[in-house]
Symmetry: C2
């Protein structure tokens, strides 16, 4: 655990310019915590994820150590989460293969230990909120945020909100048609050859025998990847009818992949249905980069607890 | 065109128990029109679809001929429709292969000729509204209505409303994985092997060489069909997270098919994600049958224009 005050410490008048909110990006391998009220986070820290007790305590300690009075916290957490506000396990991590974390009351423990209200959202939903407030989703009524990395996740934002009273989406697990030349079986433990099973990082590694970072120069790898992702994006366009799809995540760092996805999506859609004809503005990269989760968690807190600031248009 | 007054004529006091609304189910082969304020339509008629002028005039004439004062009309129309209220072609049928119907102002013409306000919705959205008010969607916050027939269409209802400012969904055109034993190429003119291209009526006919009505006893036909439909339903569950999926349409009249779809859906979902474990209550048939479109159009009018009646819970 390494403490840091990015701004180099706050003056008294800066503290008075709040209210301030804590943002918590609760990931499977690390937690990022910070304080702010905009993308310019005034203090942040990173904690390695161990067991729930140690991790949550370290998170609370880090936030307290920032010495900033906070009015509320936003949590963007790995899942599956119970996000039904009427459930008695609202804000809990549900059954997960991650040892020790099943049935952890993340929201309740943060609230009790920090003595402030907390709002909770699934990780990709938090990142989408950040893009809605300060990134590529600004001013849109409806967009999908997709992340392609170790897994594939996506969130739909409508009028600046996610909505999952009845469970959060699992958009990585949709069907895709096997591409003609591809004999790879797929690696999803639940569905084998769903989108995530065919196109997330572990699928690329298993299909080609080496990690994606060693495949940068292999054009056939990325053309195949683009066709699977284009199938996924076409399905999101046809079911959710967003104004835009923001596509990020580690795999999308491959140079040229976004352009290939756009090209293959236009071919797949083939002029039919609600997707706009201008694929360059329909499919875009995120703007907040590596900080999207933390900044999204702060946006979540602002969205729920802030009464004095009007949302950015 | 054949006029009929199902109730055998209305007494004066019945007419006074309104307000009454017109419902118009505008289909590619026929239009059904009726008047009512509940599923018990008090008058209805059927018009063969020809060109826009003749069809809309016959529709208006039929409604006038019912002799009931009406406060508004609901239209559930074939598409594609422009359903963006801020568009200058709101309520128009957009470019369609149906001769003569491209760029037809269905909503505007009905309003002008009947002298009343009209609300318009895509056909499957209208049927979904009917199920929300008086059918299998009663009391639900969120459900998907799917129809499997000549095509495959679906609508998402949330809080009793569809929403498609940015275009209506084309949920039949999502990707599906080819089932192992199936070599059929698919018949969708835009995507060849999307769900509709593999599993709607014309796909069944093309794959097996005879219409689906002659295949009732062929178990392999319906098991394959159920697996494709289950893929579609799983994708709807993972992207839209509905509380229920209502599945109707001509193809679903095949005895035992709904049960097969449920079984294959449970296998496909494989315990993962937001779909409830009880597949019998998650996937259900519609309750309004052949009248769903007409009744849905009346529900649409009630929803938009009725101020005195509270929506059924």
């Amino acid at each position: 655990m390494c403490g840091s005050l990015l701004s180099g410490g706050l003056e008294r008048e800066e503290l008075d310019s709040g209210p301030w909110y804590a943002g918590i990006e609760a990931g499977g391998s690390k937690w990022r915590v910070g304080v702010g009220r905009s993308p310019a986070v005034i203090a942040d820290d990173t904690i390695t994820t161990t067991n729930p007790d140690s991790t949550i305590s370290a998170c609370v300690e880090a936030i307290r150590g920032m010495g900033v009075p906070i009015d509320g916290a936003g949590i963007a957490s790995f899942g599956p989460l119970d996000l039904n506000p009427t459930s008695h396990t609202y804000g809990f991590i549900k059954t997960t293969p991650k040892p020790g974390w099943s049935n952890t009351d993340v929201k309740g423990r943060i609230e009790r230990e920090l003595g402030i209200p907390a709002a909770i959202e699934i990780d990709v939903g938090g990142a989408a909120l950040g893009e809605a407030w300060w990134g590529a989703g600004r001013g849109l009524d409806s967009f999908v945020y997709v992340t392609v990395g170790t897994g594939i996740g996506a969130a739909l934002l409508r009028s600046g909100r996610t909505s999952h009273e009845h469970g959060h989406p699992e958009m990585g697990h949709i069907s895709v048609e096997r591409e003609t030349e591809d004999a790879f079986a797929g690696v999803c433990p639940f569905h084998r050859s769903c989108l995530e099973g065919m196109a997330a990082g572990p699928a690329i590694r298993a299909r080609w025998g080496v990690p994606s970072t060693e495949l940068n120069d292999r054009a056939e790898v990325w053309d195949l990847e683009a066709r699977y992702l284009a199938q996924g994006l076409a399905t999101y366009a046809y079911t959710l009818v967003p104004q835009r799809i923001i596509v990020g995540g580690g795999i999308m760092q491959q140079p040229g992949l976004l352009e290939l996805v756009r090209k293959r999506l236009a071919e797949r859609i083939n002029g039919y249905g609600p997707a706009p004809p201008d694929v360059e503005s329909f499919v875009v990269p995120p703007e907040l980069g590596q900080d999207a989760g933390l900044i999204g968690a702060i946006a979540l807190a602002l969205d729920r607890f802030e009464t004095t600031t009007v949302r950015p248009p």
